[in-house]
């Protein structure tokens, strides 16, 4: 449902801006000078009024765009307060941090991470590709422990609600057979 709402909002913004531009170009005579689009489909909209309406539509579209973008960025930060002011951490920075923690394990070939802010804390979801021959339960437990510990101690986020590790691939070591894919 959220995706449909997002799509409608973006189409509305785009439509408003494009229509504003078209109206502005028509009314100012830059486009279809002769009939002024049948005097804006017989609405008898005078050129000055058309120019003003076009401007207003563009400005409204840009205002909606800014509101949309700033609403989107609010979700992309985790914040905590201290006496000197607010400290915010971008989700992207946390995801990158988690990915780098994972890459410190020699058996981790590739890792992607996703942070989900929830109830005053966060959930960490990672997808990993491991080298064949790794003790998967032990390794994933170590990864979970290390991520939790670093997020708490280095990033200062105490409330780590869960760390989900999905092993997507087992990559053979050099000289072994082809990779094994594991699906969720």
């Amino acid at each position: 449902m959220k995706k449909i709402n997002d799509l409608i909002a973006w189409l509305y913004i785009l439509g408003t801006i494009v229509m504003g531009f078209v109206l502005l170009l028509l009314a100012s005579g830059w486009l279809g000078k002769e009939d002024y689009l049948e005097t804006v489909i017989r609405g008898q909209l005078e050129r000055p009024a058309g120019i003003i309406t076009g401007f207003i539509m563009i400005i409204l579209g840009l205002i909606f765009l800014k509101m949309r973008l700033s609403a989107g960025t609010k979700d992309k930060y985790i914040s905590f307060d201290n006496p000197e002011g607010e400290v915010t951490l971008s989700i992207k920075a946390i995801e990158d941090f988690v990915r780098r923690v994972g890459h410190e394990f020699g058996q981790v070939v590739d890792m992607s991470s996703k942070i989900v802010p929830a109830h005053g804390g966060l959930k960490v979801k990672v997808k990993v590709s491991l080298l064949a021959g790794s003790n998967v339960p032990q390794l994933t437990e170590n990864i979970q422990h290390e991520i939790k510990s670093r997020v708490q101690n280095i990033l200062g986020i105490e409330n780590v609600l869960g760390i989900e590790v999905n092993v997507n691939k087992i990559i053979p070591r050099a000289g072994q057979e082809e990779e094994v894919s594991v699906h969720d």
Partner: protein
């Protein structure tokens, strides 16, 4: 950014302090904190920097409410540093320097950590 922050009135007239001056002081303090890789600018600031026009207030925003100033700092930190400690150090240093050098009251210093950078790499998160 042509706005000025009203400073104290002195015997011969009023002193106004430009936002860029506050940003320059704050920027210098932030760059001096161990664990800070760089100040993080907006898309526009980064494009301007690539075109050779380095903004003086890159990564620093100042907001004035009455006689108080709030400073927002966006940074990229080095991987492995304790972010709460770095943030606390930034806040402490910026507040102290701005208050001492301008006489303005700093209401708060907000720190936004935009990325994490490996020490030996130029590119951030």
């Amino acid at each position: 950014m042509a706005e000025m922050i009203n400073g104290n009135s002195v015997e011969w007239g009023k002193v106004k302090i430009h936002h860029d001056a506050i940003a320059a002081i704050a920027g210098k303090m932030v760059n001096g904190v161990q664990g800070v890789a760089k100040l993080s600018g907006s898309i526009v600031e980064n494009i301007a920097a690539k075109l050779g026009k380095q903004p003086k207030d890159k990564g620093i925003r100042t907001e004035v409410v009455g006689e108080e100033v709030t400073i927002n700092v966006s940074v990229v930190v080095l991987y492995g540093t304790k972010i709460p400690d770095v943030a606390w150090q930034i806040q402490k240093n910026v507040r102290k320097a701005v208050e001492e050098m301008t006489g303005l009251h700093v209401k708060g210093v907000n720190v936004n950590v935009e990325g994490v950078q490996l020490e030996d790499k130029e590119e951030d998160a």
